[in-house]
């Protein structure tokens, strides 16, 4: 890449599976810039008031997360102004955000008290893009290779600009590693898109139609957003596996990615929900925050699934409309040719042409609905699943602690029995075991508290984070813009061109 890899230009190189790429409208950027400027807060202050994202002081945990929002937006919207546009081919441009180096999460709740709001200046960016899907190989062994490009100023990387080729299973492999390592600590590990046997088979078999192109484009976008989220997370960015994924030329093939098929993933999440709902009853009151939060997440999940279904229905209907419009156009042309009045015949042919052009518009709008809406909602649902996953890990940590306590109790009983039965040789062993389990109990209790704190922080971060904002704030605006800037004016143009033809009928 010889030019600066902004999201804009990166996207234009992507295979155009669906619709046109829109040139960046000036209106949205301007409006958002104004808004961003209005809410900029000096970032140097690190008093209690400066609640920058990612790292929270203890007070933050107990105050409304909403306050963070006003300070979050300058950063995210500034990035947004550079990169946002209603692109049909990729809507992740708005999802980029600078990753920043942050301190590792404190081990226990108490330690947060001491933590400074030492937010390091945000000079270091990591921008990733996933582009240029290319089919490699033939038949059932074929796969899509994607170019993963990174642009960064962080010194931990060897270069500032580099590209590698990765395939889908590599992304899944990365997820598995990260989830294994960090999941149990309560981190919300961003989830990758699901496997799709049907989608991929079509591609492998070489079906060169719009639906397989759509599928590839959807996947490409999802992978890009996935990677972006990973590098945005200060902790995950530090993980050597992430660095390796971005930098290393050849990655060993990830083989054990079966669990991450769409159904498998869903099963995993559902199991988590069951476990969590069973356990929450047993947990005590101080965990009310978690209980409430989980309920919120679950209810949001329900709603968004419904929303997703509706948007998909919209996409289907729009595609139907496009097809029906094309068919009507054909029949209107036929009617025009059968018409014996010349002017009317011409007008009918014109009508057929107009309807044909409108059909194309409908196609584009369907694509836009898909990429700007359905995909992001699907992303959000997956993320909600990951949030529930982190709750599940917390429960597991709690369970481990409880189990250890139960075991300790048993050991103590054993010791008491041995004392009574007066078996001195076994007694020493029992005492050793007690010590061992006492240590374990302490450890697990600390673990649990640490995980709880992390989960709490992660959830707050998630709520406040760009994803939330972007989906719900900027996407609607972009959607509206696309109609305003592109579709409606086109419609007007077509019908106004048709009008004189209709009037010429005599």
């Amino acid at each position: 890449m010889s030019k600066k890899t902004t999201e804009n230009e990166g996207k234009s190189g992507t295979a155009k599976a669906a619709g046109p790429t829109f040139s960046k409208p000036t209106e949205p950027a301007d409006i958002f810039t104004e808004e961003a400027a209005a809410t900029t807060v000096p970032r140097t202050s690190n008093t209690v008031n400066s609640k920058a994202n990612g790292v929270h002081s203890e007070e933050d945990l107990f105050t409304e997360a909403t306050v963070e929002l006003s300070l979050d937006s300058p950063r995210s919207s500034r990035k947004n102004e550079e990169t946002s546009k209603p692109s049909a081919s990729s809507s992740s441009s708005s999802l980029s955000a600078p990753a920043r180096q942050a301190k590792p999460p404190p081990a226990a709740l108490e330690e947060l008290e001491d933590e400074e709001e030492a937010e390091l200046e945000d000079k270091f960016d990591v921008l990733v893009s996933v582009k240029d899907p290319e089919k490699v190989g033939d038949g059932m062994n074929a796969y899509m290779a994607y170019k993963v490009s990174t642009e960064t100023t962080l010194p931990m990387f060897r270069n500032k600009l580099f590209t590698v080729r990765r395939r889908f299973s590599d992304f899944l492999g990365l997820y598995e590693k990260l989830s294994e390592k960090h999941g149990p600590n309560g981190l919300i590990v961003p989830p990758p898109p699901e496997k799709s046997i049907l989608g991929m088979t079509k591609v492998k078999v070489g079906k060169e139609d719009s639906s397989s192109a759509d599928f590839v484009e959807r996947r490409r976008g999802a992978l890009e957003r996935y990677l972006q989220r990973v590098v945005n997370h200060p902790l995950l960015l530090q993980d050597p596996d992430v660095r390796e994924f971005l930098e290393k030329d050849e990655l060993p093939r990830a083989v054990s990615t079966q669990t991450l098929s769409g159904a498998g993933f869903l099963k995993m999440i559902n199991k988590a929900t069951d476990a969590v709902s069973k356990m929450t009853i047993k947990m005590n009151e101080s965990d009310a925050w978690f209980e409430e939060k989980l309920q919120e997440v679950e209810s949001a999940d329900q709603h968004f699934r419904k929303l997703h279904a509706l948007v998909e229905s919209l996409v289907v209907h729009r595609k139907e409309l496009s097809l029906n419009t094309a068919n009507f156009a054909k029949s209107a042309a036929m009617l025009g040719s059968a018409e014996d009045n010349t002017a009317l015949s011409r007008a009918l042919s014109q009508l057929a042409e107009v309807e044909d052009k409108i059909e194309q518009l409908h196609q584009d709008q369907a694509a836009y609905d898909t990429f700007s809406f359905a995909e992001l909602i699907a992303d959000y649902i997956r993320l909600l699943g990951a949030v529930r996953g982190s709750f599940d890990h917390r429960i597991k940590a709690w369970q481990r602690w409880q189990d250890a306590q139960a075991m300790l109790q048993k050991k103590r009983e054993t010791e008491a029995k041995l004392l009574w039965a007066n078996k001195p040789d076994k007694l020493q062993q029992a005492k050793d075991e007690i010590v061992e389990w006492e240590a374990r109990v302490t450890q697990f209790e600390r673990d649990f508290e640490r995980v709880s704190a992390t989960v709490r922080k992660e959830v707050l971060r998630f709520e406040v984070r760009c994803e939330t904002l972007k989906i719900f704030k900027y996407q609607p605006a972009q959607y509206v813009f696309s109609i305003f800037v592109y579709f409606s004016p086109q419609l007007i143009k077509y019908w106004e061109a048709f009008l004189p033809e209709a009037k010429a009928i005599a």
Partner: protein
């Protein structure tokens, strides 16, 4: 009075002050529609200068059928009968709504119900229009407007059902339809003597199949538009309940969703829904109406072809009679009558078909122009509304 724009399909009707007919209102009881037919006339053949009568759809069919079966009108294009009021689509929707009530939020249900009521209303308006146009076609026809049964239809202030239930007429109508399908085969085979009619036949047969196809495709297109409008309603309702969630931590989401949902509700639903119904009225109804009209023109051709066949048969019979030397004068009479009938039919048929052509062209023009203008208006409207939404969305 129904708004002007609903009288979309036919032109040049109802501007002859000597006989003005309209349907100012109608009542919908379950699936039965009761039309109020209102007449204003300066003709002395009527008892009063202005009067109204209640009529049902079956009365219109009776009128149409009696006109079709009147021999004197064989050479005329009888305006196509208005189709039966079809509440099937909204009824089906209502059924679905009832079934899905459990899974919907109250708000969503209310909204869908409103849409359903709007759809009922649209069907209702459409059926009134099409019945009205039928009567107006008759009143503007120089010959048909003078028909006695037409007058009875307009004036008779008692229930017409007694007349309708005349078994003979019903049987006659049934028989007529049966014969007609046999005619279609016959017509294709008859050798045409007149160039004009030969051309007309070819044209009408071809045009009919094409317009039938176009009508079907237009209907599908319109239905897709409606589906999208429905999707937007459900989307906006879901977003509404989402934004009404208690959760304070998602307040930003709530807020943005509220805005977005307003946007959906205000802009897209209104515009998409209206685009669907305007398109339907102008385009689909136009095509549907002229499809039926062309069928009526075809019927004229069939009648004429049958008269021709009768004439040819009478010729053969005359030849046979002359050969046998029996009943010659009878055969001659019969042949003369057939010829006369055929000539009358041909003459009036020619006039009717020429007028029909002109009428069709004018109607298409009017509707296509209006449709294009409406599309532009809606798209511009859309943009204005969107502008407002953008300002709303971005200002917060």
């Amino acid at each position: 009075m129904l708004p002007e724009k609903l009288r979309s399909v036919s032109v040049d009707l109802n501007n002859d002050a000597s006989l003005l007919i309209d349907i100012p209102d109608a009542l919908c009881e379950r699936d039965k529609v009761k039309f109020t037919v209102h007449t204003k006339t300066t003709l002395s053949s009527f008892q009063k200068p202005e009067f109204s009568v209640p009529r049902q759809h079956e009365d219109f069919i009776w009128l149409h059928d009696t006109l079709v079966e009147t021999e004197d009108y064989a050479g005329l294009i009888i305006p196509p009968a208005p189709p039966k009021p079809d509440f099937e689509s909204p009824r089906e929707k209502m059924h679905k709504l009832g079934e899905g009530e459990a899974t919907m939020t109250k708000e969503e249900y209310t909204k869908m119900k409103q849409e359903l009521e709007a759809e009922y209303l649209a069907v209702f308006k459409k059926t009134v229009q099409v019945h009205e146009v039928f009567l107006q076609r008759l009143s503007s026809h120089p010959v048909l407007s003078k028909d006695r049964n037409f007058q009875i239809f307009l004036e008779y202030d008692q229930d017409l059902s007694v007349r309708r239930k005349n078994a003979k007429e019903m049987f006659g109508g049934f028989f007529k339809n049966m014969v007609k399908s046999a005619d279609e085969v016959l017509i294709a085979g008859v050798k045409e003597v007149d160039d004009f009619f030969e051309q007309e036949k070819t044209f009408l047969l071809d045009y009919f199949s094409k317009i039938k196809e176009a009508t079907a495709k237009a209907e599908k297109m319109t239905r897709s538009h409606k589906n999208i409008a429905d999707d937007y309603i459900r989307l906006s309702a879901t977003l509404n309940s989402l934004s009404a969630e208690e959760s304070t931590n998602y307040y930003i989401i709530k807020f943005c969703l509220k805005l977005f949902q307003n946007f959906l509700r205000v802009c897209l639903k209104k515009v998409e829904g209206r685009v669907a119904s305007d398109e339907e009225l102008k385009l689909t109804e136009l095509l549907r109406y002229y499809m039926r009209d062309i069928q009526a023109a075809k019927d004229l051709l069939y009648r004429r072809a049958r008269a021709l066949a009768d004439y040819e048969n009478s010729n053969k019979a005359l030849d046979k009679a002359r050969l046998k030397g029996k009943d010659v004068s009878q055969a001659e009479e019969h042949q003369k009558r057939c010829l006369q009938k055929f000539d009358t039919l041909s003459e009036s048929g020619k006039k009717e078909l020429t007028n029909f052509k002109a009428r069709r062209v004018v109607a298409f023009r009017k509707n296509l122009v209006e449709m294009a203008e409406l599309e532009v208006k809606h798209a511009k409207n859309n943009m204005t509304l969107l502008q407002g939404c953008i300002e709303l969305l971005s200002g917060n």
